[in-house]
Every structure is written in structure tokens, then in C-alpha cells.
């Protein structure tokens, strides 16, 4: 601790006191420019139109406007989403290995009458044809399917997270200024991290689906690569900012870089690492539902399929499932984090 004397001004010096206004013309000019830019981009992003449409929607709801495109669209989707789909029906005729005496849990066989309009080639008239169809009804079949797909999504997220942790450890080592070997390895590691971080998962997944085909491989890799950039950067910064004192003690006896990192740095940063990793897991579960949209496996792939077939009741089930899982995971990781730090 350095104790410095407090400087005392020499006798007779006149002190120049002044306290200026915080703003000047320069600031006003900047403000005007900022407003102009906002107006310009606001028009380009149709913010003006958004305000009008939202106003119409609000007016329609309270009974002032008689039509609103937004309300129409939303209510059409809303109506077809309720109630969410829970069960499945499959034509028995198509199920080759069905054992009638030993049906799956909760399942039952029902008979529907199917009415079809057919053209009679002799009379050239449309005739109604009635046909008895047997269907296997599983009252919770779709729920079960969503559960399986959700599980797959979580598995994709977990493997993506594992992959990113494994990949980011060497990246962090080379990207930490005080542990990297030389300027070249440092630049290379930092460059790789920036590159990984700058590639959005969705786009990476799009390309990986081309390379590995539809399914979870593309999902795991896409999530892992992006998160590795994120984790690498944060791990490296933690290593750089760790308390230097224990490191100096180990360096002083010649313990070597790796052992110094393990004994002088790791114990300090592990709680932080776990917090980052949990955040990534959390984020990966949300992201895994999204990248399924481009065919990278999991619930997203199912969502996309149902959306494209306008089966909004199925979509509703999926959305509720996603919401529940994300909520539970959020609670879980918050609790774990609180316990660790």
C-alpha cells in the first residue's frame, strides 16, 4: 500500500472554479441525427404499418373497427389449435403386426363409417359410397409421441452441450493470453471462437442436414459448434481474470503451465464454468426445438411437419410441451446455480 501525501496548493494561487452545463449544441445535433435515422429505418422495417395494424386489431377487439387482418389471422389459428391433439387414430388395415387380443396400453379399436363421393362411370353421376373402417384409437398416443420427440430434443441439447464443452476447453486454453503458447496460437484460437460464435445454429444446421442427412446428428453438431465459441470465449476470459496469486506460487516452484492451470486456476473458475454450461444447456434445449424446423431432428421437425399440414391442434400440443420443458429446465438450472455459487 502506498501512502501518498495530499498535495496542498501553494499560497496565493487563485483557483479556477467552473461547473459547465452537461449538454451542448453538439449533443442536440446528435439527437436530431439519431431521430432521423430511427424514422428512416422505422419506415423500412414497416414499423409504421405495424402500428396501424395493431391499432386496427385493438379497435376490432373493443368493437370500434369492423375488420382487422391481425385478429382474423390469429383467431383462425386459435380456433383450429383448440383443443390440442392428444390421441392418434390409425387404420387397422394398415397395421400389419397388430394383435387384436393384446392391444397396446389404453388403446381400443373403433369402427368409423367413411363416406366417399365417387363417380359412377356407367351413370356418370356422383354416388355416395359408405365403407366401414376399423381404426386403432390411442387416446394419449400423440401425447406419448410428443414426449418421445421432446426427449430426443433434450438429448440433442445435452449432446450438443457436451460436444461444446469438450471442444471449448482446448479453445479456452489457447485463447487465454496467459496460457497460450504464442501469438499465433492465440490469434488462431480467438479467430476460431469468433467464427463459431458468428455462425447462427439454424444456418449451420441447414448445411449440416445437407451433409449428414435429416436427423439428430446435424442438430448436435450445429448446437455444439456454436456453443463452443460461446463457452471458449467465456472460459478463456475467466482464466485470464482468475486471481494471479496462487498461480504465481505454483509458477515460483516450477510446476509447469498445465499443472498450474489445474491447481491454481480451475478451482477458482469451476463454479462459473458450471453456470455458463447450464446456461448453454438451457439455451440449447430452446435452440434444439428451433433447428428441428430445418430437419435436424427432435420436436422441431415434428412441429414443422404438422404446421405444413395445417394440423394446428397438434401444433398446440407441441407448443405446450415446449413451454413446460423450458419452464422446468429454467427452474432446475436456477436452483443448481444458486446451490453452486
Amino acid at each position: 500500500m502506498d501512502i501518498k501525501p495530499i498535495p496542498v496548493p501553494a499560497q496565493g494561487t487563485t483557483l479556477d472554479w467552473h461547473l459547465d452545463q452537461p449538454y451542448r449544441a453538439k449533443h442536440l445535433l446528435l439527437l436530431i441525427i439519431l431521430l432521423a435515422v430511427l424514422l428512416f429505418t422505422g419506415h423500412r422495417t414497416e414499423m409504421d404499418k405495424m402500428v396501424v395494424m395493431t391499432g386496427q386489431a385493438v379497435g376490432n377487439v373493443v368493437g370500434l373497427a369492423d375488420d382487422s387482418q391481425v385478429v382474423r389471422g390469429l383467431s383462425r389459428v386459435g380456433e383450429s389449435m383448440w383443443p390440442p391433439a392428444l390421441g392418434t387414430e390409425e387404420e387397422v388395415a394398415r397395421l400389419t403386426d397388430l394383435d387384436r387380443n393384446n392391444l397396446p396400453f389404453l388403446a381400443s379399436i373403433k369402427t368409423h363409417e367413411r363416406v366417399e363421393q365417387k363417380l359412377n362411370t356407367d351413370t356418370l353421376q356422383l354416388e355416395e359410397q359408405r365403407e366401414q373402417v376399423e381404426v386403432l384409437v390411442k387416446p394419449l398416443g400423440y401425447l406419448w409421441m410428443v414426449f418421445i420427440k421432446m426427449l430426443e430434443t433434450i438429448e440433442i441439447a445435452i449432446w450438443g452441450t457436451l460436444f461444446s464443452v469438450v471442444l471449448s476447453i482446448p479453445l479456452a486454453w489457447y485463447a487465454a493470453r496467459n496460457y497460450t503458447y504464442n501469438k499465433f496460437t492465440y490469434t488462431l484460437a480467438r479467430g476460431t471462437i469468433s467464427l463459431l460464435r458468428s455462425m447462427p445454429e439454424l444456418i449451420v444446421a441447414l448445411f449440416l442436414v445437407l451433409a449428414y442427412g435429416f436427423g439428430p446428428i446435424a442438430g448436435v453438431l450445429a448446437l455444439g459448434l456454436h456453443a463452443a465459441g460461446f463457452l471458449g470465449k467465456f472460459y478463456a476470459e475467466d482464466i485470464e481474470n482468475a486471481d494471479k496469486k496462487p498461480q504465481e506460487a505454483l509458477e515460483a516452484i516450477g510446476a509447469g503451465k498445465l499443472k498450474t492451470l489445474w491447481y491454481g486456476v480451475m478451482p477458482q473458475v469451476v463454479p462459473q464454468y458450471i453456470a455458463y454450461t447450464l446456461y448453454i444447456l438451457d439455451r440449447n434445449v430452446r435452440m434444439a426445438t428451433v433447428i428441428g424446423l430445418v430437419g435436424a431432428g427432435g420436436i422441431g421437425q415434428e412441429l414443422k411437419g404438422r404446421f405444413d399440414m395445417f394440423q394446428y391442434d397438434h401444433v398446440a400440443t407441441i407448443l405446450i410441451a415446449i413451454f413446460i420443458v423450458v419452464f422446468l429446465l429454467d427452474q432446475f438450472s436456477a436452483r443448481l446455480r444458486a446451490k453452486l455459487i
Binding site: 496469486k245 516452484i253 498445465l258 489445474w262 491447481y263 477458482q268 463454479p271
Partner: protein, 267 residues
């Protein structure tokens, strides 16, 4: 034996931390480096294990000159005890002490924390030697008091049976009673191994009590070199005259500051 041969150190900002220091410390001596803040004590100690590269001159330990080629092997024979203990606070006491062996255990063992039974037994013996009890072994170092942390620091330093012990203000942040206990531990443990101790201090009474020899430093130069008996009150006055005070335990700093301010302003 440690020989400082014409050591000078100029930091990039132009501070001359050491100017032509020549000292020889014979084997087994407890040599106290005494001096006010900024005298260059830390800089001098850090020259012995190569944490600081001198601008000029060289350090010779038992006939081996410290160079980048010899640094790795020499460092294993030179232990260091730090002012701020420099323990890994979130790690157990046991792991902190075992970390003193890192230069000689394989990387695999170190990473797994799989130390040999002899090494574990040695860690326990040293912890007992410095006055800790079995209940401390698995505690986090950060949960110990300052005095206990420095005990762990001392145990860690002696894990490799060093020939040289560098202690940089080991008791600067401890109260006088604990300070004496810690310095006794360092002195006795070093004597048992016939190790040379270079210990920087700023408390004159402790220097007189523990030093076989006192080297007084001021502004990067040696201004006194002799036995505690020769280090008279006039010498003390000459060494510290007009100097700033050294680090104090955090609790004392404020009171100290208040007491100092009128003096400094008047000066």
C-alpha cells in the same frame, strides 16, 4: 549458498529497483532483508527463483548460475512463502499442500489428484508440524484465518524439502503473536533441513529476534549488512528516516492513515 553478483534491475518504466547488489548468504543462514516499502526487497527475492529477470548481474545457487536452462531444476529446490499466502482458496487445505509437489509428480497424477501414500503421509505430517489438526485437512483454504492460511503456505513450501526458502513479508498481514509463531515455524523447519532462508520483513523487532543476519535495504541498495547486535537504534533511524510505511493488516490501515496524514502534509 546464494550469491547475488552485481544484480541490477531497471523496470521498463525507468524505476531502478536494484542497483548493483552484491551479497552472499551461506548455507543454513536465516537472513532477514529489512527495509521500507519500495526498497526492492521483493525484487531481490524474486531474482532467486527467476520470477524476476535482472537487467544485469547473476544469481548463483550452490554453484549453479540461474539461467533459463537451469531455472526449472533450480526452482524445485527453492521454496517460496508469500505475503498474501497465495493459496487456491476454493481448494482444500490438503490439495494446497500437495500442490507443493507439482514439479515432481507426473501430469496424469496431478490432474487426477492421485498422489502416492508417501506423499499424502508427508502432507499430513507437515500440516501437523505447522500446528493444524486433522479437521482442517479437507476444509477449503479460504475458510481458514490468515494465520492458518500462512501455516498451510509454510507446509506447502516444505513439501519438496527445499534448500532455499524465500519468504516475502510472510507475516506482514498477521498480528504480532501469530507473526512470531509463523517465523519460528519457518526458522525451525529450515534448520532441520539446513535450508537457507531469505526473509524480507519490515518490523525491526522481528528482524532482530529471528535473523542470524540483517541486510538493510533502501532505494535498491544495501545500506546495512550485519548481525542483529550491530543493528543499533541509530542504524534503524538511518534506514527508515523519512521513509513510507510498509503494508499493514487491512484493519489497521485506516487508523494508520489518519495518524499519518498530518505528518505527511507537514513534510
Amino acid at each position: 549458498m546464494i550469491e547475488f553478483k552485481a544484480i541490477s534491475k531497471k523496470w521498463p518504466d525507468g524505476t531502478a529497483a536494484l542497483s548493483d547488489v552484491n551479497v552472499t548468504i551461506p548455507k543454513g543462514q536465516f537472513c532477514v532483508i529489512l527495509g521500507p516499502s519500495g526498497a526492492g526487497k521483493s525484487t531481490l527475492l524474486r531474482a532467486v527463483n527467476g520470477l524476476m529477470q535482472p537487467t544485469n548481474g547473476e544469481v548463483v545457487i550452490d554453484g549453479v548460475t540461474l539461467t533459463s536452462a537451469t531455472a526449472r531444476t533450480l526452482r524445485q529446490r527453492v521454496a517460496m512463502i508469500h505475503q498474501h499466502f497465495n493459496l487456491t482458496l476454493r481448494m482444500s487445505v490438503a490439495a494446497n499442500v500437495l500442490a507443493g509437489l507439482l514439479p515432481v509428480v507426473s501430469t496424469g497424477r496431478a490432474i487426477l489428484g492421485w498422489f502416492t501414500p508417501e506423499h499424502r503421509a508427508k502432507a499430513c505430517a507437515l500440516l501437523e508440524r505447522v500446528g493444524l489438526t486433522p479437521k482442517h485437512v479437507q476444509r477449503r483454504a479460504g475458510e481458514l484465518s490468515g494465520g492458518q492460511q500462512q501455516r498451510v503456505g509454510v507446509a506447502r513450501a516444505f513439501m519438496l524439502d527445499p534448500e532455499v526458502v524465500l519468504a516475502d513479508e510472510p507475516v506482514a498481514s498477521l498480528d504480532p503473536k501469530i507473526s512470531r509463531e509463523i517465523l519460528s515455524l519457518i526458522r525451525d523447519a529450515a534448520r532441520e533441513r539446513n535450508a537457507t532462508v531469505l526473509c524480507s520483513l519490515h518490523q525491526v523487532d522481528l528482524a532482530r529476534e529471528f535473523g542470524d543476519r540483517i541486510v538493510g535495504m533502501r532505494d535498491g541498495r544495501i545500506v546495512f549488512d550485519g548481525t542483529p547486535e550491530e543493528f543499533t537504534d541509530e542504524r534503524v533511524e538511518a534506514l527508515y528516516h523519512g521513509a513510507q510505511w510498509e503494508d499493514h493488516p487491512a484493519t489497521e490501515v485506516e487508523a494508520e492513515l489518519d495518524a499519518l496524514q498530518p505528518q505527511l502534509v507537514a513534510a
